[in-house]
Amino acid sequence: MSQYHLAAISFVLFTLAAAGFLTAGGLVRMLMFLELMLNAANVALVALGPAAPSQAYAVMLFAIAAAEAGVGLALIIALASAFKTLEAGGIKELKG
């Protein structure tokens, strides 16, 4: 197995998540696909990098993903209470 095959697996995962992000209308669903995109990037890092340093970076990326999910979902809850919708197309005001 060449590294190209490992890269291809993570690229396919990333692309499917990106397709979901681009076609989804709901904010929760968009955040889910965003997490999967970060997950695919993590897979590429672990599969292609040298063992210990890449895994150390992946551990840090886990923490960043957790922080991103926390802030993202707090934003979604705040938007849902302000606009009564979670459709990205229905939120058109910047000032809440």
């Binding site: 197995m1 060449s2 590294q3 190209y4 490992l6 890269a7 291809a8 697996i9 690229f11 396919v12 995962l13 990333f14 692309t15 499917l16 990106a18 397709a19 979901g20 681009l22 076609t23 989804a24 209308g25 929760v28 669903r29 955040l31 889910m32 997490e35 999967l36 997950n39 897979v43 672990v46 599969a47 063992a51 210990a52 340093p53 895994q55 150390a56 992946a58 551990v59 840090m60 886990f62 923490a63 960043i64 993903a65 957790a66 922080a67 991103e68 999910a69 926390g70 802030v71 979902l73 707090a74 934003l75 979604i76 809850i77 705040a78 849902a80 209470s81 009564k84 979670l86 459709e87």
Partner: protein, 166 residues
Amino acid sequence: MIINAAIYFFGGLAALATLLMLFQRDPVKAAMLMLAALLATAGLYLALSAQLLAVLQVILYAGAIMTLFIVALTVTPAAWKDKPAPARIKRVLGLAAAAVILAELLKVSTALKTVTAAPEFSETGTLEIARQLFGPFALQFELLSLVILASIVAAVALTSRRRTAL
């Protein structure tokens, strides 16, 4: 041989779950498919000899982050309302953009075709990862604590605004 098969199996499983998520309208079913994709990725990490990451993937992603998503779905009734299907042109454009991204990524990584990965099940111990985190990456690791602190403050500030406004 078995390791290669495991990599393809778990990679395919994660891709299949993500693909099914694309066409799933029910948010809870989509969350369950995301859970399947995350667990398949944990298996992929195990096949890539990243045992610690596999455990962290299950605890952090499949445990903590998925719980956050489920809680967010339950406290936001707006997520359950019947939504109109996305416009066909939007879907086609999104899928076309994703196909372009995949083609470009595969194109730029053709140099990797000559590099043999030959994954073997080795023990990349937690001690070695800890040495990296507290050695060369110590500054990044410490900065990460600030990121997490900032995200906690932001999350509390965002969700408590409604309470103070009343």
